[in-house]
């Protein structure tokens, strides 16, 4: 159910996410000092290659990491296996990637 490839993918994405989560939280704390507005956020993110790469990578890592984690829970707690389990893994992964990528696109280039 969880072979070496999936395990490595989950561990490596965890490694990626650790600094990204810290960066995300640090910027959040910094950004809300003195109020928070959509204009302020968009002013920072729009057209920024850095924030596009930062959150783009974040979304990619989350999609892979969460899909594998939920796959384990679905198998061990709900007994899902075979095609249903594969379908769920890909569904969750692609779903998160689609929603996340859309959001990243919206605040950087759209």
């Amino acid at each position: 159910m969880l072979d070496l490839k999936l395990y490595m993918a989950q561990r490596l994405t965890a490694l990626l996410m650790a600094p990204l989560v810290i960066g995300h939280i640090a910027v959040m704390i910094y950004a809300i000092q003195g109020g928070l507005s959509a204009a302020e956020i968009l002013g920072r993110t729009q057209g920024s290659v850095f924030w596009f790469a930062f959150y783009g990578l974040f979304v990619l890592a989350v999609s892979v990491h969460a899909a594998i984690g939920l796959r384990v829970i679905a198998h061990e707690w709900a007994g899902l296996k075979g095609r249903a389990l594969t379908g769920l893994t890909w569904g969750v992964g692609l779903g998160l990637l689609l929603m996340g990528a859309r959001a990243v696109w919206a605040v950087t280039w759209a």
């Binding site: 159910m1 969880l2 395990y7 490595m8």
Partner: protein
Amino acid sequence: MAAEAQNLKVSVWRGTGDTGDFETFEVPSRESQTVLDVVSWIQQEADPTLTYRFACRVGMCGSCAMMVNGIPRWTCRTHVKKVSDNNTLRIEPLRNMPVIKDLVADMDPFFDKWVSAEALHHPTSTRDDAIAPVDATTPQRQTADAGIECINCGICYAACDTVAGNPDYLAPSALLRAWTLLNDTKDWGRGAILDAVSGAGGCHNCHSMGSCTRYCPNELDPMSAIAGLKRETFRHALRRKRDA
């Protein structure tokens, strides 16, 4: 009357295959009584049809392993007074294995997984070669030695919550043996072992909950052995990618 007050109330799992129920027996309480003594008393004095396994009675063979009040134990090495709850005992066959009858679990899946994990000796030489000396002081040999006292009793298998949710998981003892062989200079199955423990039911399914290490009657540490396999398979895969 006083003796009757000392009776143990023992619920024993009775049944064949998937069907069955608990049957309660009153068993006289004795000094220094083990749970195996209780089961044997029931079979000899109350119901000769009760089926259970035992052999050595001294914690050498591991065949008397059962669930006692929900915890997997060697019944021959478990004193009643240490585990009874208000003079009651609940005795069941080992968890995570099919039941053959009453307290006898079918250990076939357990042993099949040892073979699937390549937890078997891969010889480096033949009987015609000279015996290669083993240096007992190397860290690698000490890592192997730390895990070789496993007697395949199935306690860790019954304790493992990952096996409960994921029946294909190779489980602690087979992976522990794979780990000791990986660290054994007299074993030549390195590639086969690393491949065998990297599959769908392999070591990467372990959640490190630690029940195997907590309940092993020989005080072995399968959880750390599995962590070692995870590290080694990871390294091996990275190396293979680099060399490709």
